[in-house]
């Protein structure tokens, strides 16, 4: 049981990086960006291929970051310069990345068995793999949260937040909303790719399919984090994302343990997200009924 829990926490921390990326587009920019499905696999592909070719695993992870940023930029350019709706721009990049990821890897998956990864150093010092992942995951997540907390407090960061909040107002205040949207997408997909790179190294392989459904997992983690751990200030919102991603993994581990077939996972996640997203509407729908009953009394 402890093994399962540790596995869930370690995986959750790696997915937390991705969740933060999804948060930037979904909550800050107010865009549902599907690029992430491609960029998470891209991060895995770049890191795996880089390591296979003998690169330092940290350098390979950094390269994944750059690849993800490029993917985000592609979506941003499609959306802002060619005026393709954001959702469609993301889908286009996502589809394109499928082929690009296959080209990067040269095949559908790459095994990283017995190769050096970012976790090797900690493992060699005698730590269990799950603990090594948790330690590195914590460092990555809190490093990223600190950086983002700082960044979104700067002038450029504020401009990005204003753009997602009210693009008309942003432009009236002299903000080039094309640039801020592209920047947000770059940062988001960069983080998602790093997450992909870290996940691939933890599970020992990269697969071109690993991005499928990841946006829903990201959204589920964002929403679980917000609902369960509050959203008072920006810092606690960022921390709640990490907690949300870990909680999601624990929930999944538990339902699998309770005997749910793994093939039903995506259906389960989709339903969870659909219910969570529709909560405000359901509330509106249910509350007036209760009121009218009160009126009769």
């Amino acid at each position: 049981m402890l093994d399962i829990l540790m596995g869930a926490i370690s995986l959750g921390l790696l997915w937390a990086v991705m969740t933060i990326g999804v948060f930037i587009t979904y909550r800050i920019l107010n865009i549902a960006d599907l690029t992430v499905e491609g960029s998470i696999a891209m991060g895995a592909a770049i890191a795996a291929q880089g390591i296979t070719l003998g690169m330092n695993p940290y350098a390979a992870t950094l390269l994944a970051l750059i690849g993800g940023m490029a993917a985000g930029m592609a979506t941003g350019l499609l959306h802002t310069q060619l005026k393709i709706p954001a959702l469609l721009s993301g889908i286009l990049t996502m589809i394109a990345l499928w082929s690009i990821n296959l080209r990067i890897m040269g095949k559908a998956n790459i095994s990283l068995l017995r190769m050096n990864t970012v976790y090797t150093l900690l493992e060699n010092s005698g730590l269990d793999k799950a603990y090594a992942i948790i330690i590195l995951g914590l460092i990555a997540v809190f490093g990223i949260i600190t950086c983002l907390y700082w960044f979104f407090g700067t002038e450029i960061g504020c401009a990005i937040r204003a753009t997602g909040n009210n693009p008309n107002m942003a432009r009236a205040q002299g903000i080039n909303t094309d640039v801020t949207i592209i920047l947000g997408l770059i940062i988001s997909n960069g983080l998602v790719a790093v997450s992909g790179a870290l996940i691939a190294q933890s599970q020992g392989y990269a697969d071109v399919q690993m991005g499928t459904g990841s946006i829903v997992i990201g959204l589920a983690s964002v929403i679980i984090g917000e609902v369960l751990f509050g959203r008072k200030n920006f810092y606690s919102r960022l921390v709640s994302l990490a907690l949300g991603a870990v909680t999601y993994r624990i929930i999944i581990a538990l339902v699998l343990k309770m005997g749910m077939p793994a093939n039903d996972l995506k259906l389960f996640t989709a339903i969870t997200v659909a219910v969570a997203l529709s909560l405000p509407t359901l509330k509106d729908y249910l509350i007036p009924i209760r009121r009218s009953y009160k009126g009769v009394d």
Partner: protein, 264 residues
């Protein structure tokens, strides 16, 4: 200061839905002028303002601000010299951001944004002073989200944001139309006070004839995409609703008097 030369703007050109919003509009504006722009629905007042602000690109003609041709300049670049308040109170502020954060965004209008802090302690004091001046009690709510404010408070805040960095030209697009009469009056008073205090060159679109006559030192009336009246100086001061209606009647027959929207 502002020169609008032969500006022509149509929507949905070359379709059955084509509408000409501005038909060769010409006028010049001197520094320190406060124009009230009046006209019925579809007269082209808001379109004119949006063309000046760069929200719409014009089909023909040129727009100069301080002798600089801005006709091809994008909206966010023109923002450096423009202050704007919109009809919809939701449109001028970022609802999920704090009052001080909104002011800080406005304070950086026209400046290059970098990786410095989005708001500094020194600024906070200044914002507090400025908010005090509005007399709406907002100075104690600096970190409150703007979404919590009423429509009138939001418009007052947007006005402050538009003038925080003195704009060369202040554009007010029916900024009191969505407010209840009492709040509208209060926001208009704040507007007038701000304009006088900073000696702002202003263009204010309004539906309300009385306001158009009461405020400003020049009145422009538009009808079907053209300027049909342009009154300033002593003549403007002597203007009454009746005399304005009469003058319009002389130009366009009776339709103006029947334009319900103008008589509010």
């Amino acid at each position: 200061m502002l020169a609008v030369k032969d500006v022509y703007k149509s929507f949905n050109p070359n379709t059955v839905n084509e509408t000409v919003a501005l038909c060769d509009v010409n006028f010049e504006m001197k520094e320190g002028e406060f124009i009230t722009l009046i006209g019925g629905n579809g007269a082209g007042k808001s379109t004119l303002l949006n063309c000046v602000a760069g929200v719409y690109s014009v089909d023909r003609g040129t727009i100069l601000i301080d002798n600089v041709d801005v006709t091809r300049l994008p909206e966010h670049k023109r923002a450096a010299v423009l202050g704007r308040v919109f009809q919809d109170p939701m449109m001028g502020t970022a609802a999920n951001m704090g009052i001080e954060e909104n002011l800080a965004l406005a304070y950086r209008r026209g400046k290059r944004r970098g990786l410095r802090w989005g708001i500094t302690r020194k600024e906070r004091e200044m914002y507090r002073e400025q908010l005090k001046w509005l007399e709406l009690g907002l100075e104690d709510r600096l970190t409150d989200k703007v979404g919590l404010l009423s429509g009138g408070q939001r418009q007052a805040l947007t006005l402050l944001m538009a003038t925080l960095k003195k704009p060369k030209l202040l554009l007010l697009d029916e900024h009191t139309a969505a407010l209840d009469p009492k709040t509208a009056q209060k926001v208009l008073e704040i507007t007038d006070r701000l304009i006088r205090e900073h000696n702002l060159t202003t263009m204010m679109v309004t539906h309300n004839m009385r306001d158009a006559i009461k405020y400003g030192n020049r009145l422009i009336m538009m009808h079907e995409g053209r300027i049909i009246l342009d009154i300033e100086g002593e003549e403007k001061k002597k203007l009454t609703v009746e005399s304005l209606l009469k003058r319009f009647g002389r130009i366009k027959g009776e339709e103006f008097a029947n334009d319900r929207a103008l008589l509010s």
